[in-house]
């Protein structure tokens, strides 16, 4: 437990230091959202309709840009060796790394969402469903992303490969997340069902991804 806590604390600290991944992720999120808004044009009604999907895709891309650093930085400076040899259960360590990634990118994105939502003219009754869907869904994104990072840790440049790997695995979370946000805003009966499926996807990922990450890390040690 002590080791897992230390890994999370260290990764979060590093993410917020100079050269860390948090600020770029939030900045990228903001830039994507604003560019989308500019491309969609000045129609405010249209904007408020597509605000939630824009924010969901923006969050998805923003969590992606820092993925390849999750394990590669540790591998390059040798600390992955320490982490692997001292972890009693590598799957738990992988879960801790994913948790740290979520705390340092997913959570800041959620905190930035209300501000960006104002820019996109999101209707007031849509805020809660959107934030709730992000809160339930983004941990799943970090888990899947850290699995892709573990698969590609031995490659020098893996960002493109990571996006090819994660995009199909992200789709269910994107569909249910954006679906829940839209249904919640409209007060439609699909809200609860979409949230349930989103939660199921994240829980299921929380079982599979750490085990798969551990297997991938072991295969990637050299």
């Amino acid at each position: 437990m002590r080791g897992l806590r230390a890994i999370i604390a260290r990764d979060v600290t590093l993410a917020f230091r100079a050269g860390g991944g948090s600020l770029p992720a939030v900045a990228f999120f903001a830039v994507i959202t604003v560019l989308f808004a500019l491309a969609a044009g000045p129609d405010l009604t249209l904007m408020s309709k597509i605000a939630a999907p824009i924010i969901w895709t923006g969050a998805l891309f923003a969590t992606q840009i820092s993925l390849d650093q999750i394990y590669r930085a540790d591998r390059e400076d040798g600390s992955l060796d320490v982490i692997v040899t001292t972890s009693g259960e590598l799957a738990l360590t992988a879960a801790a790394k994913a948790a740290a990634h979520w705390l340092s990118t997913g959570l800041p994105l959620i905190l930035a969402t209300p501000v960006l939502a104002i820019l996109l003219n999101l209707e007031s009754e849509a805020y809660l469903p959107l934030l709730l869907s992000l809160l339930i869904g983004t941990p799943g994104l970090s888990l899947i992303g850290s699995f892709a990072a573990a698969l590609t840790v031995a490659l020098p440049r893996a960002n493109l490969l990571i996006s090819i790997i994660v995009s199909p695995l992200y789709i269910p979370i994107l569909i249910f997340g954006a679906g829940a946000a839209a249904a919640g805003a409209a007060g439609a009966p699909q809200y609860a069902a979409n949230l349930s499926l989103l939660g199921a996807a994240t829980l299921f990922t929380a079982v599979i991804a750490p085990i798969a990450s551990a297997a991938a890390l072991r295969s990637n040690m050299d």
Partner: protein
Amino acid sequence: MKKKTRRLYLAAGAFVFAAGAVALTLNALKGSITFFYLPSDIAALAAKPTAAIRLGGLVEAGSLQYGETEESGKPHVAFTVTDGETRINVAYVGLLPDLFREGQGVIVQGRFTPDGDHLDAETVLAKHDENYMPKEVADALKESGRWQETGGKAGTGSGGRN
């Protein structure tokens, strides 16, 4: 902690998570996360939705009416979508897909008029059922009176409404 005990705890934890995922999925399948609403789903709502929705059901036999045709060649059409319990009127401007038939499944996308009187469709998609048969067989079935069993449940028999 011994390796074996730790593994046991881990397996138990994973099982709890997986069971939670299954429970949530079953819970979701009870409700609807559907590609479309049925007319009865709409009737069950407190108010007609204002956002664009998808409505699915059967085109009621004898309900299809053609209005005037616009200069662009697009006809005005009106028909009724039913699931056997509730009926909803739909208005559409444009060409209907090949599979559009009275008594067959259809999915329309659009929004309700402000008075909630009918749905203004933007797109009309014809839904095919799982039955494939030659025309002669279909005719024969119709003549022998066994037709309703197979063809009648077309639109609603899409499986999702268990």
